[in-house]
Symmetry: C2
Subunit: 226 residues, 2 copies
């Protein structure tokens, strides 16, 4: 394989990872929409999407592995491929979180809707926003942007902690709402995990980009022009 073809393959790998990220993000959006509307047909979509995500994860891994095997990559490319492998694993687990939410929605079918004093869609939108930003930092090889994702995580942690104690009070004061409140705690926690995955992705981007800086003493845009 020529150097040029190798770099084209790296671009293909990046492209494929972005598709994977889109699938993961969509699965969370769908799961939260299923929760908001209690629409079990959306849960079915989430579950089918999960299978597709798992398949896609293996394809990305195999592609990365083939690139490592075919060529002796330079240090910078090696770090890039490893970042892809790690980000891929995190995106797959974002899909798992979506399935976890979807499972809770199915359980809630037996209970009436409850108006709980927590803003789950806001938490979902913050968490998926972090995933999106971490992936954007990856595309643009922008360590500063990746670092901004890390600081966003504090907000999500705080929102999740607030939801936890708010819902605990609901359980204490209105025990008949315990099933709905407990499900809401678990869903908040799943969304906080999505934010954790975004944080992991951001850290991988920093590892990759900084490694490039340290090893090459040149800007990343010179190494991987957009």
């Amino acid at each position: 394989m020529t150097r040029i073809r190798f770099h084209r393959s790296l671009d293909d790998l990046k492209e494929k990872l972005l598709v994977m990220a889109g699938m993961a993000e969509q699965s969370i959006q769908r799961a939260v929409e299923a929760y908001r509307t209690r629409d079990l047909s959306i849960c079915d979509l989430v579950d089918r999407g999960e299978l597709a995500i798992n398949r896609f994860e293996r394809e990305v891994d195999q592609m990365a592995l083939d690139l490592l095997a075919m060529e002796q990559p330079m240090a910078i490319d090696l770090r890039f491929i490893l970042a892809v492998i790690k980000i891929n694993a995190d995106l797959e687990r974002v899909g798992d979180s979506a399935t976890g939410i979807s499972d809770r929605v199915r359980e809630l079918e037996a209970f009436p809707m409850a108006d709980l004093p927590v803003d789950t869609p806001k938490l979902a939108s913050l968490a998926t926003g972090m995933v999106r930003k971490a992936l954007q930092a990856f595309i643009e090889a922008d360590a500063a942007m990746a670092e901004s994702v890390l600081s966003m995580d504090d907000n999500v942690d705080k929102l999740n902690e607030t939801a936890y104690f708010t819902l605990l009070n609901v359980m204490k004061d209105q025990p008949h709402l315990a099933p709905q409140a407990l499900a809401a705690v678990m869903i908040s926690r799943s969304l906080e995990r999505v934010a954790d995955h975004a944080t992991n992705i951001a850290e991988d981007v920093i590892f990759w980009v900084r490694g490039a800086d340290v090893r090459h003493h040149m800007s990343v845009s010179e190494i991987h022009p957009a």
Copy 2:
């Protein structure tokens, strides 16, 4: 680097990953002991351990990266190194689960001990047992053993689901115990995640070992003698 030195380095990498696994397992055991005894000094140990685990994770990653960069590894070694990188990430997150449990124990300080009808230490012992078995499958390159870890996960999922609904009933019937019951749900969930990480590790072992089989048409023990 000679081939022999390269293989000695692979052994060093494996050795280091096993130390990492021991740290992760210990952190879970400590966190559950802190929960059982409500001893916050053990929580401090868990938190300090978490810092050590994070440091160690980076060392393992760097060692794996150096091996990939220095040598053009054969396909079988490549898959091994990638498995190490992925297992390493899972072990670090086992450490995160321990910290999550430790955080809940700190919150519980404000509440009296409650005798809840769930066996958290049993769940913990099943989950850490899975991690240990997945690592053993890794050491012995034993895909069948790795597969037995996957089937153990069903038990953990069932125990966790049972704990969920049992504790939900506690919340409904004894709302004054809601804080303790909710913490117990979260801790069960953390332990179920530990089992999920063990499952991921087992899948990585299967990926590595099966890849060896497929590509070399010889038994793994011939490739990597114990």
